[in-house]
Assembly symmetry: D2
Homo-oligomer: 231 residues x 4
């Protein structure tokens, strides 16, 4: 069997990713700081839930040990978590800024570190990371998010250069715009007519395309935004 791990699994994008991976035959593991809201999804797709704070080295070590115990190959690992704290530089709380950087970037490193150990022996696998426009453009009054998402992009670019030649596909998906969510019923996954916000199923299809790419023609980065979004 083949396992797909989705970290930062909440409603919205992560649910769409998990369903799409399930459809391709992967067994799904959802890791999140608070898995209580995920029980319906887990039941729907037969996913394993693991509580895990992605910025915590001990939690991430434990997560991957639990994956090992399932004795499946880890073929896909996706990192979604990010934090954001906004405001003028002089008023930001240093504790919050540290947290934003750790969740948005350091946790991604931890996943890459542990996933690489599992994927390298087979020279196979894919790791995808959910980025944001803030990773290519640092907006005013949003320094911590810019720091976190720029760092994530630097990590991914470095990983692509190191791991592509070893058969492991790295993807950095720059999400530009608001993702529709169940809280916004019109925008919820499934309603293709609502297209002014990013449809999470549509986003997931681009992740799946990266997964399907023949390795003679791999992409390490792709930007997606609604047709009406200015950039």
């Amino acid at each position: 069997m083949s396992t797909a791990l989705v970290i930062g699994a909440g409603p919205g994008l992560s649910a769409s990713l998990a369903r799409a991976l399930k459809q391709r035959g992967h067994s799904i593991v959802l890791a999140s700081r608070d898995t209580s809201s995920l029980s319906d999804l887990a039941q729907e797709i037969g996913a394993t839930l693991i509580d895990c704070n992605a910025r915590n080295p001990g939690d991430m070590e434990r997560l991957f040990t639990m994956l090992d115990e399932q004795q499946d190959d880890l073929d896909v690992a996706i990192y979604n978590p990010s934090a954001r704290n906004q405001g003028p530089i002089a008023t930001l709380d240093p504790v919050d800024v540290e947290n934003t950087l750790m969740i948005s970037a350091y946790g991604a490193f931890l996943m890459a570190h542990h996933a690489a150990k599992r994927m390298l022996p087979r020279n196979q696998g894919a790791m995808f990371f959910t980025g944001a426009t803030a990773g290519v453009k640092g907006f005013a009054n949003s320094a911590p998010f810019a720091m976190g998402k720029f760092a994530l992009r630097g990590l991914c670019q470095s990983l692509a250069r190191e791991l592509h030649p070893k058969g492991i596909h790295i993807g950095h998906v720059v999400i530009d715009g608001i993702i529709g969510s169940p809280a916004n019923p019109e925008s919820a996954s499934g309603d293709e007519d609502f297209d002014n916000m990013l449809n999470p199923d549509a986003i997931a299809r681009t992740y799946m395309h990266l997964l399907d790419q023949h390795r003679s023609a791999w992409s390490w980065e792709i930007e997606i935004r609604p047709w009406v979004e200015s950039f």
Copy 2:
């Protein structure tokens, strides 16, 4: 009926694109400076062949007038032509440099100009442009190709900002690496085991993914390269 236009149609990538578009039900028009080598492909997929020098405004005007006469909607237009002349800046021939710029960038403008006129009334359609690494990195002793491919990228970015909100999808595909060709039998389309060079069918699948993207989650640019290519 719906027409897909492929400019710069030769063996390799253009053939893979034309076949993939045919499979989706488009009627295909192949335009090229020399269509004589395309008769087999044209017969195979029932394509119309039109002779056309893409840098020539009169030729391009005539090409689109002929498309109009087919009375089909133009839904897809793809621009592949490029020229390249390399060497130290002091030794380049100004005539060749002008030609490289005109074929690689000005012809792409001409296609965008005429295709936009056809697509805007229906707020629908897609235009894709084949770029190269030279469009994001200007290599030594290759100034003309850098000029042409940078200009193409600037065109595409401007078009995405103008035309996405009007329902027309722009795609700039940065090809990094050598595309396998029939002259290199091992690399020819179809042999998925040969993966050190870009497989033209694999490239075409990424173009088709762009074409399939829901407009709530459009990409305007994607880079593709073989897993073993250093960058």
Copy 3:
């Protein structure tokens, strides 16, 4: 003696550059499509005026032949010309677009080509090119300017990679904002209190800094904009 060539010399930036170069002891040659407006400046700094359409290979060949006859070393060559035509892609005139591309980029190639021939034998010299934000961001309804300025940037990056190791310094200055001009008296060069538009003397000081850089620490690109300019 040492010659500094400024192409695209008009009031504003070019005058500030010419004065700054004169102050450093260079003899100045101003080349422009219409030198009639430059007679006052030429008299002030003892400059030679040469009529020249920068996009025309014959004109540029003649310009450099005239420089050779002065028997001075060509140490600095600066390229300022650009054209701009704006509007929706479907309404642009192909003739104007070709002109924008030729003036903004092809003329710069011609200068680089001829200047390199003069500078390479001494492994010494500097070529600077005036870029614009349009060279790093392609705005909607401004495709031709984006094409021209992206191409210029690709040229400069390629030249830096080729010519820096041969002792010739390349500089691409990205001007972001409106340059103050004599037509706008408050903004004219010399009035340092007017700082919401780019002061041409201030811009020229950054070009002179590039000229002064020790070759152990060369820059090939720098962006400048008014403090109040959003980007």
Copy 4:
């Protein structure tokens, strides 16, 4: 009086910066994790030495409190510290990676946070940050350094957008290449003939140029590398 703060002051670049700032009449404060090696420099230029671990919020708070007690205006603040740990992603030590990110990026945030509080009331001042090529290109087997330097760049870009319109100049200097050091006598500051490595005095002159820029023509980023460095 006006104070210039240099964090990460060691031999090499920081010494050149400190001397150049002293020459312009600033009183100098050098902050470093270990100031013991700086006593000669401090005596030479009459600088104050403060022990400070830049990634530590308490240390940075204390540093700026000590600056306040000097009752001078803080006009310049420069951040140099960085850490680097290299190796394949699977073999990196998570503790080291956290440290690299904190020193290279989080400490820079802390400086910006505290310096902004001092500079905003006067709408005046400059903050410069020493970046690296790793901040624009993520190399293989160097993920932590890429993360730290990308994050630093994101911080600076965000700060420029926020603080330029408030009169505070942000500079991100991308150093590409090896900086000559006293350990390498030939490359030491002062020997202008040695130009294959970055001369620290030459680098410092570019920082001083940024400091001198008229605010109608500010740069927020500049890349510098030796003429012979490939990129």
